[in-house]
Subunit: 143 residues, 2 copies
Amino acid sequence: MYYSIGEVSNKTGIAISTLRYYDREGMFPNMERSHGGIRVFSDKEMATLRVIDCLKTTGMSIKDIKQFLHWCQEGDPSLVKRRDLFYERLEEVKKQIAALQKTMHTLNYKCWYYDTAVTLGNEDMVKNLPLEKIPEELRDYKI
Amino acid sequence: MYYSIGEVSNKTGIAISTLRYYDREGMFPNMERSHGGIRVFSDKEMATLRVIDCLKTTGMSIKDIKQFLHWCQEGDPSLVKRRDLFYERLEEVKKQIAALQKTMHTLNYKCWYYDTAVTLGNEDMVKNLPLEKIPEELRDYKI
DNA sequence: TTAGAACCTAAAGTTAGCTTTATGTCAAGA
DNA sequence: TCTTGACATAAAGCTAACTTTAGGTTCTAA
């Protein structure tokens, strides 16, 4: 299947200007063009966009994603580098999830804090509540 | 306890220039200064830094965090707004965790993919592997 | 009292990741 | 064939979140 830039934009929700920017950055090596110079996206480029999305979510920069995509072009000699990269990204994502989970606990504490304050109509009373009045599971996340 | 900007930077790992930038942005309303004009961070500012870190992790912009900190200054009338903000951030963080977990599955697929390719010394063989040769728990995350 | 480390400000600079603008070409239907 | 909407490029512009620079002031320990 082949797609115009507008179709790709509609299917993925990625802005046309962004797709052109990615192309300019070399994220679609050997993407085809029509005789008149118009970009022709194939399923290969669609797959690339999914990889870009995945790696972007892990916090990788466009520059580094581009590097990875070029390793893909090199074929088998870069297999180990590419494998190592995914293991690194996996570790990174685990760290990010852990950080978010910690943050989630803090947010739960804050939700309890403000719920209580709104109920009492007064923040100071919550501020001065003794520790044992804070729900046990939230105590450690007081901030 | 009181701290100089350098001490705060050491304790938190936040660059001095960043602390000054936050101050310039108004994130530390009524922070004290020494007679000579030198910033004096108290435990209140340290707590603010923890809140900033929490909200930044949820993806909030500095501008919006500043807004929240100003609501804090307003006292009880803004309690509901502040509570609602934390519930929003909680939802946001849940979404982020879900996205990261999905990404983690994809990364696990890729790790398996490249492990196999490295073992075989050949990517094409993995590419053409029938679906049932992909570990069951990874099949849905093929990309 | 003096050296130098640590602090201060204002303003300019940096980087990533796009988006916008200006101008022009291509392609498909009436 | 003509129109018009979708495409093209190059270059400039934008925003967030800092960081750097330049030049000066304050504080502390010898």
